[in-house]
Every structure is written in structure tokens, then in C-alpha cells.
């Protein structure tokens, strides 16, 4: 019997934007509730995975304030910035909690790179981010951002180097119970 274990950072069925790749996972616990920095900003988090995962749900983490009139959308792009799957535009709730949304199931293939993306149209909405990052930090870790003219994840995405430092939690999971 041969058992091949996955690498440490994707050894479960829920992949995280700040841990799946390992590139930024060692940032630690500098977590702060922070207002979304720019309306309609899309933040792209680079992720590498070692085994295939069927994504059934995606999630993010609301912080101390949610905006009942705001909207959030999360999705996954391939390396060519084609949108593979995403949540619908969703009103964030509740505070200080992960919020998961079912998606039309889609596969992420093992041994490939992806970008976990999230966007929001409200400057009132807060999420947990890594506080105090020096400008340029996430650029040096492969992150990107995009400011869209209308709310939502575009297909394809057209990102540039980050214009702001806002790494946050985006989950993609094969589980249906998260």
C-alpha cells in the first residue's frame, strides 16, 4: 500500500488564500478588522495546490462591521486569469464570522497555481487583514489587485501589481457544510 500525503499547506479540503500556498502564511497573527480599502477593488491571492479539489463552497471572513447594503463576491482564477468559478454577489453577514456561499461546483487541478479573488463594493464593510504591511510587501509575494468599473469579478481578470496592501481570508472548499 502506498500512501502519498499532500504537502502541509493543503492537507484538508478547505484551502485558504493565506495558507494554501505558504507564500504568505507565515505572516502570523497580525490580524486587524479593516475597512475595505477601495470600492470595487479586486484582490488576487496567489495559491499553489498539490492535489485536485472539487470546490463546492467559498467563504470569506467578515470583521467587526458589515454593510447590509454592501456586496461581496469571491472566486478563483487560473494563471491566465480566466474565472473558473465564483459566488454570486452576496450581502455580507454576520459580523466577526466566516461567511460561506455555495458555488456551482468546479475543479481545481493538483499541481497548478491559481488566484483566490475577492471583491467588495462597500467602504463600510470590514474584513480581517494583516496590519502594518509596508507598501510593496504583497507585490513581492505575487499578489495583484484590480479596480473594476462595475462591481463584480471580471472574466478574464485584468489585474496589475497591488495598489494597496490588503491580504485577507478567502476559502475554497470541497465540503458542503462550511
Amino acid at each position: 500500500m502506498e500512501v502519498v500525503l499532500p504537502r502541509y499547506y493543503d492537507n484538508n479540503n478547505t484551502l485558504c488564500s493565506l495558507a494554501a500556498e505558504g507564500n504568505i502564511g507565515h505572516l502570523g497573527n497580525h490580524t486587524t478588522s479593516t475597512s475595505w480599502p477601495l470600492a470595487k477593488l479586486v484582490v488576487y491571492h496567489p495559491v499553489s495546490i498539490s492535489r485536485s479539489v472539487l470546490v463546492n463552497k467559498m467563504a470569506w471572513v467578515n470583521a467587526l462591521t458589515v454593510d447590509a447594503s454592501g456586496h461581496v463576491q469571491a472566486g478563483v482564477y487560473d494563471e491566465a486569469f480566466n474565472l473558473l468559478g465564483s459566488t454570486a454577489s452576496t450581502v455580507p453577514t454576520p459580523v466577526t464570522a466566516a461567511q460561506s456561499v455555495s458555488v456551482t461546483p468546479f475543479w481545481l487541478q493538483g499541481g497548478r497555481r491559481y488566484y483566490f479573488a475577492i471583491t467588495c463594493d462597500s467602504l463600510v464593510e470590514t474584513m480581517y487583514t494583516i496590519s502594518g504591511l509596508v507598501a510593496g510587501t504583497t507585490a513581492g509575494l505575487g499578489f495583484m489587485t484590480e479596480t473594476t468599473s462595475s462591481f463584480g469579478l471580471g472574466n478574464p481578470g485584468v489585474p496589475t501589481l497591488p495598489t494597496t496592501e490588503f491580504p485577507t481570508w478567502v476559502y475554497a472548499s470541497s465540503e458542503t457544510a462550511i
Binding site: 500500500m1 505572516l27 494563471e79 499541481g111 513581492g140 505575487g142 501589481l161
Partner: protein, 182 residues
């Protein structure tokens, strides 16, 4: 061997799209656990004409399109160079010595596309002055075993390195971009 077979087959994952000094594929976790985790800070380069070498491993073939580093608050009259060495300290690819430009931002050196085969390597950075600042963390030097340095390299990164053990707690963010743009 008979019996039920359980398999959780993994692919060899590609390295991060920006294979950086902070990555797990280098010794980024040492940086973190050694007290050097982000957020970092802008600080002058550790010593003029010093080359610093970071070990890293890749498990599948990659193409390097660019080298990069992250300037701190002052990008200045100093030149910066990034390169890659094999496990025997022979240079695989040396970037161009480039004037540090653009504070608090990533700066790129677009190189000839360079294929790296699976194996152990070192990524290296060099700067010819101490006016330029870089984004860096500062884990205790005792937590930086595996990093090497080479002093007084007035001509830039050498073709063949002859390094000594690192002596300083200076952990800049730099590395290899496996994405052509942006």
C-alpha cells in the same frame, strides 16, 4: 501487500508564483519562527558590496522570467543585483546591476527566460551601497543558518561564489518571478 489501499495522491505542487526569500520553499518559516515575520520595515542595505545567498528547492521545472526586490522608503543611487546559483555555487543566471528606483514598491529586472530544473539552488542579492533601503525583516542571526554572505564584491555578484556563514540579521524580500507580467 494485500488489504485495503488508501491513496491521497498528490501532484508535485508548483512553487509560489513569486518564489521569494520569504517563501516556505526557501527558509521563510525560519524567518517567521525566528521573530522576523512580517510586517517588516524599511532599512538600509546591510553592507555595501555584500552578496547574500538564500537556499531554495524546486521540485519541478520552472521558468524564471524576472528577478525582483522590494525597495524600502528610499530608493537611491545604489545599484542592486539579483541572481541564482546552483548547489555548487556556480551562477546559473545573474541579473543586471540596476539602479534602485521607486520607493516602497517591487522593482523588477527582466531577464532572459531561464529554465531551472528540479534541485537545490541559492538566490542571491547584492547592493553596492548603504543608502538604498529595502523591505526587510530582522529575525535573530542565530535563526538564519543556511543563509550565506560574501563581502567586498565590488564588481557585483560573482560568477562562482565563495561565501561564508551569514553574520547579520537582515532578511530582505526579493526573489524570482515565475510570471512574465505584471
Amino acid at each position: 501487500m494485500s488489504g485495503t489501499s488508501y491513496s491521497l495522491r498528490s501532484q508535485v505542487p508548483p512553487p509560489p508564483v513569486f518564489l521569494a526569500s520569504f517563501s516556505y520553499d526557501t527558509i521563510g518559516m525560519q524567518n517567521r519562527t525566528g521573530g522576523g515575520g512580517l510586517p517588516g520595515a524599511s532599512a538600509i542595505y546591510i553592507a555595501a558590496n555584500r552578496a547574500i545567498y538564500w537556499p531554495f528547492v524546486i521540485r519541478r521545472q520552472v521558468t524564471v522570467y524576472r528577478f525582483f526586490w522590494v525597495n524600502g522608503a528610499t530608493a537611491s543611487t545604489d545599484n542592486v543585483q539579483v541572481g541564482v546559483y546552483d548547489n555548487n555555487w556556480h551562477s546559473v543566471k545573474l541579473g543586471t546591476q540596476t539602479l534602485a528606483s521607486g520607493p516602497s514598491a517591487a522593482q523588477f529586472d527582466n531577464i532572459t527566460d531561464t529554465v531551472l530544473h528540479p534541485g537545490a539552488y541559492y538566490m542571491a542579492i547584492w547592493c553596492n551601497g548603504t543608502t538604498t533601503t529595502m523591505l526587510r525583516t530582522n529575525p535573530g542571526q542565530r535563526f538564519m543558518d543556511g543563509i550565506f554572505q560574501q563581502n567586498s564584491q565590488t564588481s557585483g555578484l560573482p560568477t562562482t561564489a565563495t561565501p561564508i556563514q551569514n553574520t547579520n540579521a537582515y532578511f530582505p524580500l526579493f526573489g524570482l518571478a515565475l510570471r512574465a507580467s505584471p
